[in-house]
Structure formats: structure tokens, C-alpha cells
Amino acid sequence: MTPLFAALDTQALTQYLINGLSYGMLIALVALGYTMVYGIVELINFAHGDLFMLGAFLGWTIITAVFKVSPDDAVLGPVALLVCFVIVPAFCGLLNFSVDRVIYRPLRKAPRLAPLVSAIGVSFIFQNLGLFWGGPQDVDFPKLVSNKNLLGLDATVRFTYQDLLVVGVTIPLMIALTVFVKLTPLGKAMRATAQNPTAAQLMGINTERVIATTFILGGTLAGFGAMIYGLTINSIHYQMGFLVGLYAFTAAVLGGIGNIPGAVLGGLLIGLVRSLGSAYVGERWTGALIFAMLIVVLVFRPAGLLGARVREKV
């Protein structure tokens, strides 16, 4: 229906870019969890998206059942938000750590397929937990962060408090993660383990501790992502982890799996393609466009956009 080269409306274009980047940052937060775990133990943790979903349900329960916040409550709202932003990431980090400790760790020396299939199993368990928790229908997530336009009430381009929340939480997190991985001893140990776990062990690095840290970090980021998702999209569903997980995994592959800036770049690209594709091609083609982009990138750069060409380990 929409002409592919409609006269470019710069204001609308700006809006598409804002929407796309905002959604992309959310995808990037989840993608980091995939890529970090893959980088360290070469496991595609399919349960990651569903972990994210459980985080969102926990946030919803804290807000609606524990604090019983009504949307216009000026005092209780921010308090509940603060509590959620502490408890939900902590819960997701702890849960991810426990899954690794109980399910993946005994399989560390097993063939690669064993933990992969176990991850799919964990994903199903989490989805069913979500089904019991929230029921089969969409659940309304309280709109605690206002949708007011920061650029003035009458401005055509909208940059809302919700967009500010996405930027204000995601960017500091990414900076903190980069600083952690680049500058701290544990971060250095992580990079060493990713490069060569046996050599790292020989150098006296406790690789199991490094792996546990990675799972905790990935889960924590997913927890932040879950809160942002709930507060900006305002509907949560027990199967939402599948779709977000799929996009996040795609983002990780797009950027080069195992590569932290790559996952962020992949997430942002997916957000932009989704938004611009919906605007200039048609809403129903967005899924096809994202995966077409993935195929094209992988044909020309099989290791992903920022992925290094690693020699096959012998």
C-alpha cells in the first residue's frame, strides 16, 4: 500500500529513528546476555528470552500486588519503580546463575548438543511458569513512566519520558559493562577464558567462577531489559520471551556472536530496520526484512559485522 519512496517527511523520519533506536537498545540489552554466555562457554542459552519474560512478570507482581500502585500515585509509583529496578535484575541474575549451576555445569564436558537441548528444555519450563503466573492472555503492565512529550506538548516529534528511561538506563549499563570487562581483573579473566579456557585455567584463573559471573551479568542485564520492556511497551505475555529472545539472538549473530559491541550494534540495527521497514515498506514485512538483512550480512561477513575471523580450534 505504502509507496516505497514516499516523499521523505523529515519529522516523521526523526520519529522513526527515535522509535527504532529505543526498541533497538532494549533488544541490545537482551542480546548481551546471549553473546557473553556464548563467548565464554559456546552455549546458545535459549532460555535467556524466557528468563527476561519471568523478570517482567516479577516486576508486574511487585507493582500491582505488593505495592498496589495506581497509575497516578506520585509517591508510591517511584518507590515501587526503584524497588523493581533493584529486585528484578537481582532475581534474573540469581536465576540465571542457578540454572547454570544446576543444569549446564554438570554438562560442561558433555558434547555441545547436550547443554543446548537442556537450554531448550529450561526455556519450556520457564514459559510454563509464566503461563501459571500471568495466564494465557496479555497482561497490562502499569504505565508508571509517563508518555508525556519532553519536546513540548505540541511538538510533532515525540521524545517521551519513556524514551528517556530507555536511554538513561541502557547507556550507563553498557558503559559499566565495557569498563568492567576492559578494566577489572575479573573482566580480564573473562576475556582470557573466552579466548582459551584451558590456558586460562593453567594461568590460575578459576574459570567456573568466571562462568558464574557471566551468567549473573547476563541475567542482570535481561532483568533491566524486562523492566524497560514492561514500562515502555506496557503489555507482557508469557510467550513474549520467545520473540524478544529470537530478535536478541539475531542481533548477537548479526554483530558477531561473542562480541559485546557487536551485540549492541546488532540490536540497534534490528530496531532501525523494524521501524523504518514498518514505515516505508509495510508493517507485515518487518520480520522478513530483519531476517533478510541477517542473511545478507552472513553471506558477506560469516562471522558477523564485528566478529573476528577465528581459526577453527583443533
Binding site: 500500500m1 505504502t2 517527511d9 516523521a12 520519529q15 522513526y16 522509535n19 527504532g20 526498541y23 495506581s70 497509575p71 497516578d72 510454563n128 503461563l131 495466564g135 494465557p136 492472555q137 496479555d138 497482561v139 497490562d140 502499569p142 504505565k143 508518555n147 512529550n149 515525540r158 517521551t160 519513556q162 520492556y229 511497551i233 506496557n234 503489555s235 513474549m240 520473540l243 524478544v244 523494524r274 521501524s275 523504518l276 514498518s278 514505515a279 509495510g282 508493517e283 507485515r284 514485512w285 518487518t286 520480520g287
Partner: protein, 424 residues
């Protein structure tokens, strides 16, 4: 040792549970007539189907689950089957097939009340048609199930392999709902509309009918596109629609196909003056709770319903039904389809009574020729040659704030009677 015995025990238990599943009886009981219903009893349509089943039970309760045919007393048994499962959250083909097969194999089953979803009816209609079971739907609105020319080339004959009509419905079809919705939108002051649909039979069908009629009555249709059902949010789509500045967005779809997310993103994109209209797939309380009070300000959300809603009934001749329902259950029906469940129960009983014997073919013929029937809504109606009701009145509802425990709680309330303009 116990660890070696345990798995064996578990397997034995599971296998014997499989054998214990009741098989349909080959020989029926001579003094029993069974009426079954097949509706999505788990998932988000649960609220609607709870009241449909309550309506059916009310009709059976009125005759005390007994009928005398030519002096022979019969007991009426009612079976409430589920065509959904918890994992899917909505109807599934497997569940619907198994219900239809169960009903046709059981010689005591004379009437099959269902389905709720039009797509589910496509599956059970041919099965029941071959075994000559009268099928009465309280909620299917897709026109092509009964009307020649409304759908594909084979429709509706492919649903009738035996060549005769065994399917009747007590609700008006979507071809009427789409055009009545367009007329109502115009009456509400909308000049420029944007149409969205969910790509499904029901949603896309009603959206296409809305579009055709909107153009016919001179409204400006700015665009019509399908949403990506797998999309989590639609802010980019809404930004695009915003640049075209419509007065009203029509969404052909249901609560289960993202209606509330589309509405939320419309408001989020800054279209706070734009109205949002949807068909009866969204005419339910779930839609309200999923969307939230802050989005549903008065004058924003409108839903049409292919019949008369409970609160509309209560101000007219239908209040007899509402009172009977209240007397039996102690509360008013919370969802609009209750009266159609009741109507289905009465149609089933009437067909059996008119046939005056326990015979599928006779009951089927008596059922589809019901005419001048005293409807629960207080209006007389008949089944036409296709099995459709001649009742044509529909309801337009909007959100009103109702005080509950000192708080304003949004509810869908009757706002407007929808009648074709020519007959007004």
C-alpha cells in the same frame, strides 16, 4: 532399588491412565438425549464462554432437564466440552476435531452447540454434517460459513458434504457488522479513517467489509494494512498513521490478536484525539483490563457487537431474560454472549420438541425450519434457507466510567442501536 522400580511404576501408571480414558459408548441409553457444547473454556475467551454455558444451562434448567416426546419421558444431559487448551490459550484444531468426533460417535448426542470461533466451525461443520447432528452456533459471525458467494468458490458447500444444511446460528453475520460499524463511525463524526486488520479470517473479513462500505457512504479511507501479529509493539506503524491524521482507526481483529497493544501505541504516538473502533472480537471485559483505565478515556474506544448486549437487553423486552438469569445465578450476565447461549439452548429444545422423536435427521430438519421464534431479545425471528437468523439489530458500545469502591472503573456500555440505514 526404589529408583529402579519408580520409573517402571510411572510408565505403568501413565499407560493405564491412557486405557482409562472413557471411550464413546457404541450403544446409547434409550431414555437420554444429550446436548453438547464445544467452546473455548480455557484461555482469554473463558469469560465469554462461561456466560454462554450459563445461558445454555438456564434454558435447560427451565424445562428441568426433561422433555416428553409423544408421551415418552426423556432426560436431557448436557456436556460442556472445551475446544481450547491451556498452552495455546485459545481454540485448537485438535481439540475441536476430537469434540466433533466424540459427538458424532455418541448415538445419544442430538444437538451440538458451538463453536465460538468461526475458524473452529470450519473444522467441525463437515464432521457433524456427515453424521446429521444439528449444530447451533451462539457466536460464529463469518458470513462464508453459510452464505454462498461470501467466501471462496467451494464455500459454504464444502462444509455440507451431505448436501443438506445442518448448521444454524443465532447471531447476525459480519457482513452486516462491518457496514453498520462504518455507518456508526460516520455518525460519530469521522471523515478520514485508517483501517488495520490482523490477517485472520474474522478480522480481515470484517475490516474489508468496513472498508467497502466506508467508501460507499463517502468516507475517506486513508489506508488499509495488516499488522505483524508477531510484533510486540506498533509505534512505528502508528507514527506513520499519525502523519495521515485520521479521525478514526478501525481495527479488524480480536483481543487475542493485539487489539489492546494497537490501541496503546496509538495513544503513545500522540494521537489522543483519534477514535478507535473494533468489532465484537474486542467487545469483552478482557479488552478493558488488558488496556487499562488510563488509555480508555471516554470518547476513545468503540466496539460493535453482532447482536444485543446484556445492558441493552435490560432496557428493552429482553429484561425478562436478564431477570431469569439473575434469579438462577444471583448476578447479571457479565458478558454479552450470555443471551445467545440461552437462545441456543432454547433452539435445541425447540428442535427436539418439534421433531417429537429421538432421531438426528428429524431433529435436524425441525431445527433449521424454526420460524417466527419468540427470541430472548423480545423480537420474533426465523432461520432463513442458509441457516442464518433474520434478526438484524446490533449494538454499539463505548467505555463508561463506573464507580466501584470509590474508584472509577472503565466498563463497556451500550451507547447506540445499530440498524441498517435503509430500515431506520
Amino acid at each position: 532399588m526404589p529408583f529402579r522400580v519408580l520409573p517402571v511404576l510411572v510408565l505403568v501408571a501413565v499407560a493405564s491412565a491412557g486405557f482409562a480414558v472413557p471411550q464413546p459408548e457404541a450403544v446409547g441409553r434409550p431414555d437420554v438425549i444429550k446436548i453438547v457444547s464445544s467452546l473455548p473454556r480455557t484461555g482469554s475467551a473463558r469469560g465469554q464462554t462461561d456466560t454462554i454455558v450459563a445461558g445454555i444451562r438456564l434454558a435447560l434448567h427451565e424445562v428441568d432437564y426433561k422433555l416428553a416426546l409423544n408421551g415418552t419421558p426423556y432426560r436431557i444431559e448436557y456436556l460442556d466440552l472445551d475446544d481450547a487448551n491451556a498452552a495455546a490459550g485459545q481454540w485448537t484444531a485438535e481439540n475441536e476435531i476430537s469434540n466433533a468426533v466424540l459427538a458424532s460417535r455418541d448415538p445419544d448426542v442430538m444437538v451440538y452447540i458451538g463453536t465460538y470461533n468461526s475458524s473452529a466451525a470450519r473444522i467441525s461443520m463437515p464432521i457433524l454434517n456427515k453424521s446429521h447432528v444439528l449444530m447451533v452456533s451462539p457466536a460464529n459471525t463469518a458470513p462464508e460459513l453459510t452464505k454462498p458467494g461470501a467466501g471462496g468458490k467451494c464455500e459454504p458447500n464444502c462444509y455440507r458434504p451431505s448436501g443438506e444444511v445442518n448448521y444454524v446460528r443465532v447471531v447476525p453475520t459480519d457482513d452486516l457488522q462491518g457496514s453498520l460499524a462504518a455507518e456508526w463511525a460516520q455518525d460519530l463524526g469521522a471523515r478520514k479513517v485508517y483501517i488495520l486488520d490482523d490477517t485472520e479470517t474474522y478480522g480481515q473479513g470484517v475490516a474489508n467489509l468496513f472498508e467497502a462500505h466506508a467508501r460507499k457512504i463517502g468516507m475517506d479511507v486513508l489506508g488499509h494494512e495488516s499488522i505483524d501479529l508477531k510484533g510486540a509493539e506498533f509505534s512505528a506503524l502508528m507514527t506513520k498513521i499519525k502523519t495521515k491524521n485520521p479521525d478514526l482507526i478501525y481495527f479488524g481483529g480480536t483481543t487475542q490478536t493485539k487489539a489492546s497493544q494497537v490501541l496503546k501505541d496509538m495513544v503513545k504516538a500522540g494521537m489522543d484525539k483519534c477514535k478507535f473502533m473494533a468489532p465484537d472480537g474486542c467487545h469483552e471485559e478482557t479488552m478493558i483490563t488488558q488496556t487499562g483505565a488510563d488509555i480508555l478515556v471516554p470518547g476513545r474506544f468503540y466496539a460493535t457487537f453482532g447482536g444485543l448486549t446484556t445492558d441493552r437487553l435490560a432496557v428493552g423486552a429482553g429484561k425478562v431474560f436478564v431477570n431469569k438469569y439473575k434469579e438462577l445465578y444471583g448476578k447479571e450476565p457479565s458478558e454479552a454472549y450470555a443471551v445467545y447461549g440461552y437462545e441456543c439452548g432454547r433452539v435445541a429444545l425447540e428442535a427436539i420438541r418439534r421433531a417429537a422423536k429421538k432421531d438426528r435427521q428429524a431433529i435436524l430438519e425441525a431445527g433449521r425450519s424454526i420460524a417466527n421464534f419468540d427470541g430472548a431479545a423480545g423480537v420474533k425471528w426465523s432461520f432463513d434457507a442458509n441457516g442464518d437468523t433474520t434478526l438484524q439489530m446490533m449494538t454499539g458500545s463505548t467505555v463508561q466510567m463506573v464507580k466501584e469502591d470509590g474508584k472509577d472503573v472503565p466498563h463497556l456500555r451500550w451507547a447506540h442501536d445499530l440498524l441498517p440505514r435503509t430500515t431506520k
